[in-house]
């Protein structure tokens, strides 16, 4: 319990009044972003928290930033300032954003990028992302490198002088890195910008010829180590009749999964390409399709020996596999990590819920609406936990009850529980995918409680009953902890809206939650609290 023991006299005042308060406000910064930093192993545990502030503008394009790194108990590890250029454009508005923050052994690598809002006569208002730059923070010496950008696959160090001005070419056509869980970053050259620069066209509306021209020319991708050195390169799009648009899908310490959306309309919609993340050797291509259904992967998980893919399944005639409300249910596909070959494939159709709900093939529940599964959690014994919520988009959209499921190794329901809660109403019509993307479901996040296979789902719910107006005017938020411990579900609740304060929860290390308390009287307070179980 170290403190400063001073044998002091007490001043009857603090610093927070008058001119000194004004100085303090002027010298404070604007929070650009904050994020959780995870451990780099497969434990999914929290290492700490990273916060980025912008606190000073030196000249038109040159700004000063400050970062703070906290440990997992919210103790400060380090903080420091640095200077960077921000992309400005005539008649545009630029905002700065924090991208990924990734720990690689004794280094932290973080990304900052700019979002530019411009108006284009052809397409109207649009935004583009650019000026991606990267810093290393050495976690032993706590020294920060200047920023690097990736230009044509090569890292270039940048430096800034106050008053310096930049040209468009200094900021555009920069490469984007994607952090992986395998000790490095993926760089897939992105030629989309050359067509998109003028805001001419939405890439989703590209013709086949345009796709070939802009994406088909990308013949390889790189895996860089944390210092931007090339670890390995792998070939893609070698077959001119089977070209695709590649993007990062998932990874762990041994496997990298890229998703390939095929350009050819006669080809399967998508494939997953599996690579050994240490060597770049291609393990397999897995075509995510089924003779009886169209499929769209929902989430990808890993364990020691397997890759587990949860898909949404649709009618084979379905034209839009992003319209989740048209889904027929889910599929669980297990691949062997070493070979990339399929080990098993199981289905959970809406009709399988008929023992518990009056539900149709397309998931519609009479006089209720539908349910949407938001998260699957594969357990060590081959079972799966799932959490779902009911919703209805007839008339006003509403989010209804919570559902807890446990599925056995065959993906059959062996536990089903409906947890009733207050119906939350939203303006406009929103289906499951929209509700999910806008964060309108009560489900907040799920996390392992410990290393013993225990789990928790956190749900934030507005408990005000009645009309949309009532709910918006006087929300009463509560936090539900739904734990799965030693094979049993249990739950407890915490009131978030208090008389004189509002608490906002935030993910913390395993078994814990951060509660950020905002009150007019006491300001902001962050507490790290143990989840009860």
């Amino acid at each position: 319990m170290k403190h400063f023991y001073t044998l002091i006299f007490i001043l009857w005042t603090t610093f927070s009044f008058g001119q000194i308060q004004k100085l303090s406000e002027l010298s404070g910064g604007e929070l650009i972003g904050s994020t959780i930093v995870y451990e780099e192993n497969d434990s999914h545990d929290v290492y700490g928290y990273f916060l980025l502030y912008q606190f000073n503008q030196q000249s038109r394009d040159i700004y000063d930033f400050e970062y703070v790194l906290l440990d997992k108990n919210l103790n400060k590890i380090t903080s420091n300032t640095f200077t960077e250029g921000v992309y400005k454009r005539f008649l545009g508005r630029t905002t700065v954003h924090l991208g990924f923050v990734k720990k690689y052994k004794d280094q932290l690598l973080f990304e900052i990028f700019d979002r530019i809002y411009v108006y284009n006569q052809v397409s109207g208002a649009n935004t583009k992302v650019g000026n991606q730059r990267y810093h290393h923070l050495d976690l032993k010496t706590l020294e920060l490198t200047p920023d690097y950008v990736i230009k044509q696959g090569e890292p270039i160090k940048r430096s800034y002088k106050s008053g310096a001005r930049f040209k468009k070419k200094d900021f555009e056509d920069l490469g984007t890195l994607t952090a992986t869980n395998g000790g490095g970053m993926v760089y897939i050259p992105d030629s989309i910008k050359s067509a998109y620069q003028g805001g001419i066209m939405d890439p989703r509306e590209f013709t086949k010829g345009m796709n070939k021209r802009f994406f088909g020319v990308i013949k390889d991708f790189q895996f860089l180590d944390p210092n931007f050195n090339l670890s390995w390169k792998a070939k893609i799009n070698q077959d001119e009749d089977n070209l695709g648009i590649y993007e990062y899908a998932a990874s762990d310490q041994s496997i990298l999964v890229l998703k390939k959306e095929n350009i050819e309309k006669t080809a399967p919609f998508s494939e997953l390409e599996l690579f050994d993340i240490k060597t770049g050797k291609k393990i397999n291509s897995f075509v995510n399709e089924d003779p009886n259904y169209k499929m769209n992967e929902f989430s990808i998980h890993f364990n020691k020996n397997q890759i587990i893919i949860y898909n949404m399944i649709f009618s084979p005639k379905e034209k839009n596999i992003y319209k989740y409300s048209n889904g027929y249910g889910y599929a669980k596909i297990i691949l062997d990590k070493k070979t990339g070959k399929e080990v098993s494939r199981k289905f959970l159709k809406w009709s399988d819920f008929s023992k518990h709900l009056d539900i149709g093939e397309n998931g519609k529940i009479k006089k209720y609406g539908k349910i949407f599964i938001e998260n699957f959690v594969p357990l060590k014994d081959g079972e799966t936990l799932a959490i779902a919520e009911g919703y209805n988009k007839r008339g006003k959209t509403s989010v209804k009850d919570l559902y807890l499921l446990k599925l056995d190794a065959d993906f059959d329901i062996n536990y089903f529980e409906k947890k009733e809660k207050t119906e939350t109403i939203y303006k406009g019509k929103m289906g499951g995918a929209s509700l999910l993307s806008k964060g309108n479901f009560a489900y907040f996040y799920g996390q392992e409680l410990d290393d013993d296979g225990n789990y928790v789902f956190l749900c934030v719910d507005n408990e005000t009953e009645g009309s949309l107006k009532k709910q918006e005017k006087n929300p009463q938020w509560s936090l539900d902890f739904i734990t799965y411990v030693d094979g049993e579900f249990d739950s407890s609740k915490l009131k978030l809206t208090r008389e004189d304060s509002q608490i906002v929860p935030m993910k913390a290390k395993k078994g814990w939650v951060i509660l950020q308390k905002f009150s007019e009287k006491e300001g902001v307070d962050m507490q790290l609290e143990r989840i009860n179980y």
Partner: protein, 440 residues
Amino acid sequence: MILEIAMKLLIGILFLFLSLTSSFGQNLVLIDTAKQEVQQNIKTTYQEKVSEQLKKIKKNYSGKVGKEISTVYSEFSESFMDQIDQGNFAYNEEYQKLFDDILAKLADRNPEYSEEIENTNVLLSYGQEPNAYAIGNRIIVIYVPLLKSIANEYELAFILSHELSHNILDHSLQGTVSRIESNYSKSFIKKTRQLKRQKYNKGLDARKAYRNTIYAYTGRTREQEQEADHLGFELFSKAYPNQAYDAVKSLQLLDEIDKETDSLSSSDFKNILGTEKTPLRKDLINNELLNKYHYEKSSKFWEIDSLKTHPDSRARAAYIIDNFDVDSTATGIPSEDFKRLKLSSNFNDVLGLYQLEAYGQSLYQALILSKQYSDNTFLNDLIVKNLQKIDQAKKSYEISKYVSIPSPYDSDSYNTFLYVVRELRNREMKALINHYKTRI
């Protein structure tokens, strides 16, 4: 608020009863938290002094500055009175006699300040760290944890002399006036307006200005600390010429005062936080905790020495040696009465921390003491009470209010304790509470 005070009253009576009935109770000097009339006396005395002080402020300071000083002083006084109402101040005749005897001797040997000294109230307070402070108005506060850390009554006498000096020199008022006046100075106002209008480098220049302002404040505070050391030694050495070097020792103590004198080992944790039915999980003790992090040792923005409100303790001790003729053999031996008070302060500290709702700290201190006094009913009862409070706090997601998080500034033992207590599951906690209940 009334319910809280009533609860504290009941707990105080209960502990007094337990302490007197335990076989150890007769040797300990335990604080009586039940004397409400004592709390009321403190409050009445303080209110009188506040009233006098406000009149003086109104008389001597006018305009915006005067108004600000009155406002700030009133707010501070309200906060101090809240502390009284919350029962943070304690009373015991033996402790009070110790303070009064010291004051009497200081007054007798320093006639020019006798009136100030004789009319000073020394209040004993529960606290979370070994410290003491002066608030002006002839009031000094001594924290219970300080009394378990010092070697003898002579070190206490110097500490009291130092705090008396702050009051004699009116440092609280002067420091406040100085800050408020600088806040309203034309140059300061001009500076902040200019910064607001600046287009570029506003943030950077505001930070520099803020930092320099803080340095000016802390610089002045360090000067005042040295003035109090100087006058304090003069007062002390006249009253205790044969123990003058104890003043130097008490300053040197400040470097060591927060180091643990005892701690909990791995086997201690297993024995005291595990039970037969729920043995302590190995992973709780063998945890990495904070070892994997490399924490920043110094701030890049602040110069730590400029930020300190007091000079370095070695510098303070050296100042006394350099400016006064001090015989290094002039030290005292603690009396038996003091030794008893010092030992008792360990137990009173546990109770005090509980009263302050610092249940984590209270439990930790109780567990350390229980290594030597495992059959002590008073301690075992406090262990149960602290565990129950922590359990309640966990269930209502408020444990951080009462139990700290592990910190790089704390010892490994304390950090391990905090980690274990926070990680205990519901059934483990329940088993532990039941286990200690059997010991009462």
